[in-house]
């Protein structure tokens, strides 16, 4: 049985290094080895590799480094498939196009990855990262509950708190059978809210086992993206986990795109 691995694409930029501390913690939590992948136009000499990646030897800390040539996104995806990567952890954008988040490579990896992807905002460099608070936006559908299972397992292994956020806005409730959204009627809040909170968590737990996780549910109102970003900052969130239905073109994924640009913390994207 092959060792579980987490793929960490580094393009040699300073920004890309921000993925490494996150990947290390996730690797320890998931008991997975890190595989750093560098994709360039040509393979650098071995002696120059660390310098090319802007890494000092201790930073590798037992990680494997693989160098590939070709188109970055395609090679990263190939590598992920070859090693059956459990996760890909990479920076949201490293090129000098500040308006485009995520960048092209990250976008292509995200859209076609065979595994969950963790996108890390640049700017934190190699400073340490920890996993104490996980924020999980939830639209109340069973599909989302099912998609979040890996996140719940990760949070439990990390002994992190799972903060489940349901954002309500004007608009139709999901049509999926068994969905639970904000109650249309709140006859008596002193009874309704505790009952609703309990029901929401139970519906999540019957599909996505929560084990001994410390789970909190929070209800927010307004634009989902803005509220999730606000909560992520307010709650000192270390990781936001998003269940994504896989459609990227406009008008889809508007919330995901907005959060990727503004959350300020790593985002794990799971396919729903």
């Amino acid at each position: 049985m092959s060792e579980a691995s987490i793929l960490v694409p580094l393009d040699g930029s300073e920004q890309a290094l921000a993925a490494l501390p996150v990947a290390k913690v996730l690797g320890e939590t998931e008991r997975a080895a890190l595989r750093i992948v560098h994709v360039g136009e040509r393979k650098p000499p071995d002696a120059e590799l660390l310098e090319r990646l802007r890494l000092a030897a201790p930073a590798l800390d037992g990680s494997m480094v693989e160098v590939r040539t070709g188109k970055p996104a395609a090679e990263i995806l190939l590598a992920a498939g070859e090693v059956k990567a459990r996760l890909i952890v990479m920076c949201t954008h490293t090129a000098a196009k500040p308006g485009k988040v995520p960048g092209n490579t990250a976008t292509n990896v995200l859209r076609h990855a065979p595994c969950p992807v963790v996108l890390v905002p640049p700017g934190h460099g190699l400073s340490a990262w920890h996993l104490h608070h996980v924020l999980v936006p939830h639209d109340g559908t069973p599909t989302t509950s099912a998609a979040l299972r890996p996140a719940a397992e990760l949070a439990e292994r990390a002994s992190a708190e799972l903060l489940v956020a349901h954002v309500t806005d004007i608009g139709a409730a999901p049509a999926e059978a068994g969905s639970l959204t904000t109650p249309r009627y709140v006859d008596q809040p002193q009874h309704e809210w505790p009952a609703w909170t309990s029901e929401f968590v139970k519906r999540l737990a019957c599909i996505c086992p929560l084990g001994h996780l410390h789970v909190r549910l929070v209800l927010a109102r307004g634009s989902p993206a803005a509220e999730i970003v606000r909560l992520a900052k307010k709650q000192s969130t270390d990781l936001v986990v998003l269940a994504w239905r896989g459609k990227w073109e406009v008008p889809h994924a508007a919330t995901l795109k907005a959060i990727l640009g503004e959350a300020g913390c790593p985002i794990m994207v799971l396919r729903a």
Partner: protein
């Protein structure tokens, strides 16, 4: 085996599921996350006991619970809640070592049917396990309406393509005794029997305790009956003995128990059914309402009432609100006066709690608890942590004082409809006097020469600590006048009892006159020029927010706008002035009713499940058929639509009572005059006819209302 059993094949059940879709609620297949909702919708009950419609074998989201009216758990904290008792419904099977479960193997067919006509929860299931063994099951569950202490579960099992060993695990066996709260003993006695299709007994009730294991043969059908008798120390000093004796008798005639139960439900329907021609969805919604209302009431116990979710779930802790007096009671008054009597007597038996609350707050008379359990003490939780993490102080228990007038209103309506003199003299008059006395002390005369009632919450709970809420003051005024009227009535017709009562209550002769003076001088917020009641002082100066912009919402307005914004706005939670128009219809001029409905209806956010039905009722009476139908549809979907999100904790019995009223008082236009009942129907266009029965002053009336508005009426002594 008695005569009723003899005509049947040994494993046949004596009844079959009702086929008419207007009488059944059907759930095909299995959606795990809907289980809690379905358990509520498919709950069965008889007002003494209620059981959620949980899957017998359980699932990852099953919350089976059986509640007994009046059995509260007071040890969990200061706010007692209805206590679930032992799960008598648990029943699972293992076939050649493989558990029979919905999430294990392949479900070839799975259907749950709430048979509202017969009061039976049916389940039909064909299951194929991993080894390919196909098993057909039919299950029946009932809580007897004929004998409220009996609960019954029957299951037939047929191996379709195998012979093998079936183990049955029915967790509850023998006689179980539990102590609930600090004082109530609950005893459940269980008896079981298994019979094969040749009539051979697979074990007597005494032999099949534990986990019976059967060798089943292909082509055969086997039937398991599990009878439960339940008694509590509220019923008898010997609950265990009573339960044991009764279950031993009942297991001897299971089919008879089923037949008696079915007959009792048919009789209930004969008295209470509303038949709608031309609108199957409305028909089913109305029967769903009547079914759950009837399941929640017990005419034999006047020390319990009906909680906001009946006996169908844990939400609201079984607490009794104004829902019972204003929304549910009219149904019982007109179709089951014995049950209505028990409900108003509950308010009599909890009068001491209401007196204590009034005294604690510095008032005279009786101020009923906003949330009442077994003693009548205030049970409203003082705080809640809202889902956005805010700790919110709950003021309804301190400020929602209209509950006392609501109770009085229900009492008076019961008296008007039944002429139950004994009730009025022994109990009703005392409630009316003590509530009037409360209002006389609650209202204060101010410099403007008017009495005012300050610092209250009206039905619109979005606005707290308001002054002179129109609904509260309007009902208080009514309560004061009726309180005075009842003193004259009782003094005149039952002078001896009046002397005793007035002496016991310390009622001086001039006190009722003062009530009239307070009523006359009580500020009502009515503007002669506009014909509008101001919902409370300052309401007209609040921000007007156009609700049309939020038409597609699926969340209440206070969630969308936030509590502070909603307080500063004219958006109201539920019918408030519109409720006043409904209850005091005859006191208001037609143009006043219309003006107030037209002003307040567009400003109502319907954040309460009680609201849409009352708007449907008033719109129908005002002749706005389209608007009435729109509100009616919304009301009818509160539990039956699966996207409202909060049926999981139980059905909304108050809203169901409101739905019934929308049809009877709204579309049918039933009203009572000195000459008796009359109808002014305004049926929705799709309704070809509406048929109903009701009792008024001891006489049953049967009415068919065609589209033309004509009516045909017969009367008689029996339903």
């Amino acid at each position: 085996m008695n005569a009723r059993q003899a005509a049947l094949h040994p494993t046949d059940l004596p009844v079959a599921p009702t086929l008419d879709p207007a009488w059944v609620l059907v759930e095909e297949g299995f959606t795990l996350t809907r289980e809690h909702e379905l358990e509520s919708l498919f709950a069965i009950g008889n007002g003494y006991a209620g059981s959620r419609g949980s899957l017998a074998e359980g699932s990852a989201l099953s919350s089976p619970a059986t509640f007994l009216a009046g059995v509260f758990d007071s040890e969990a904290g200061p706010v007692s809640g209805l206590a679930p008792t032992a799960d008598w419904t648990r029943l699972s099977a293992t076939i050649d070592g493989q558990p029979l479960r919905l999430d294990n193997g392949h479900n070839l067919e799975h259907r749950r049917v709430l048979d509202m006509q017969q009061g039976i929860l049916w389940r039909e299931w064909r299951h194929q396990n991993a080894a390919g063994r196909i098993t057909r099951l039919q299950m029946l569950r009932l809580v007897s309406l004929a004998d409220r202490h009996l609960l019954l579960q029957c299951a037939t099992i047929s191996p379709e393509n195998y012979s093998g060993r079936v183990s049955i695990d029915a967790a509850l066996t023998g006689t179980v005794t539990e102590l609930r709260g600090s004082s109530t003993t609950v005893a459940m006695a269980v008896a079981r029997q298994v019979v094969d299709s040749a009539g051979r007994w697979m074990g007597s009730p005494q032999q099949v305790v534990g986990q019976p294991s059967l060798e089943v043969r292909l082509g055969e059908t086997y039937r398991l009956d599990r009878m439960v008798a339940v008694y509590t120390s509220r019923d008898t000093g010997e609950p265990r003995e009573m339960a044991s004796r009764q279950v031993e008798r009942a297991i001897e005639d299971v089919n008879g128990v089923i037949a008696d139960h079915r007959d009792a439900w048919l009789a209930r329907w004969k008295a209470s059914d509303l038949r709608i021609e031309g609108d199957p969805a409305a028909q089913r919604a109305l029967r769903f309402a009547i079914y759950h209302l009837s399941s929640a009431a017990n005419p034999e116990d006047e020390r319990v009432s009906i909680g906001a979710r009946g006996l169908s779930g844990t939400a609201y802790k079984g607490h009794v609100f104004w829902d019972t007096d204003i929304f549910m009671l009219p149904f019982f008054i007109l179709t089951h006066p014995e049950a209505a009597r028990a409900l108003v007597m509950y308010r009599y038996h909890t009068l001491s709690g209401a007196r204590a609350k009034a005294a604690r707050l510095g008032y005279r008379g009786a101020l009923y608890a906003w949330e009442s359990a077994d003693t009548g003490e205030e049970m409203t939780p003082p705080f809640v942590v809202s889902p956005d993490g805010e700790i919110v102080r709950i003021l309804t228990g301190e400020q929602e004082h209209h509950i006392s007038a609501d109770v009085a209103f229900g009492v008076w309506k019961y008296w008007e409809a039944t002429g139950d003199e004994r009730f009025l003299v022994d109990a009703g008059a005392e409630i009316l006097i003590e509530t009037a006395r409360f209002w006389a002390s609650r209202a204060e005369r101010e410099d403007d020469g008017c009495y005012h009632i300050r610092g209250v919450i009206g039905p619109d709970e979005y606005h707290e600590t308001v002054d002179d809420n129109a609904y509260t003051n309007g009902l208080a005024q009514w309560n004061l006048e009726v309180g005075e009227e009842v003193t004259r009535l009782v003094a005149e017709r039952w002078p001896e009892q009046w002397r005793a009562l007035s002496r016991r209550l310390g009622l001086e002769a001039e006190e009722p006159h003062r009530w009239l003076q307070v009523a006359r001088e009580l500020y009502t917020g009515f503007d002669e020029q506009t014909g509008l009641f101001e919902q409370f002082r300052g309401y007209f100066g609040l921000e007007d927010i156009d609700l049309a912009a939020f038409a597609a919402r699926t969340a209440p307005m206070d969630v969308l706008l936030g509590r502070e914004r909603i307080k500063r706005s004219k958006i109201i939670k539920q019918a408030d002035v519109v409720m006043l128009v409904h209850l005091l219809w005859e006191r208001l001029l037609p143009e006043v009713r219309k003006a107030n409905f037209e002003y307040y209806e567009p400003r109502c956010g319907h954040g309460s499940s009680l609201s849409p039905a009352i708007h449907a009722l008033v719109a129908a009476r005002l002749g706005d058929a389209a608007l009435a139908e729109r509100h009616f549809r919304q009301a009818s979907e509160i539990d039956l639509s699966d996207n409202m999100g909060n049926a999981a904790g139980g059905v909304h019995v108050g809203a169901l009572g409101g739905l019934w009223q929308a049809v009877v008082f709204g579309f049918a236009g039933l009203r009572f005059t000195d000459e008796g009942p009359e109808h002014r129907p305004k049926l929705p266009p799709s309704w070809r006819s509406l048929s109903m029965r009701f009792q008024w002053r001891g006489r049953w009336h049967e009415v068919v209302l065609p589209e033309s508005g004509a009516e045909r009426r017969t009367t008689g002594d029996d339903p």
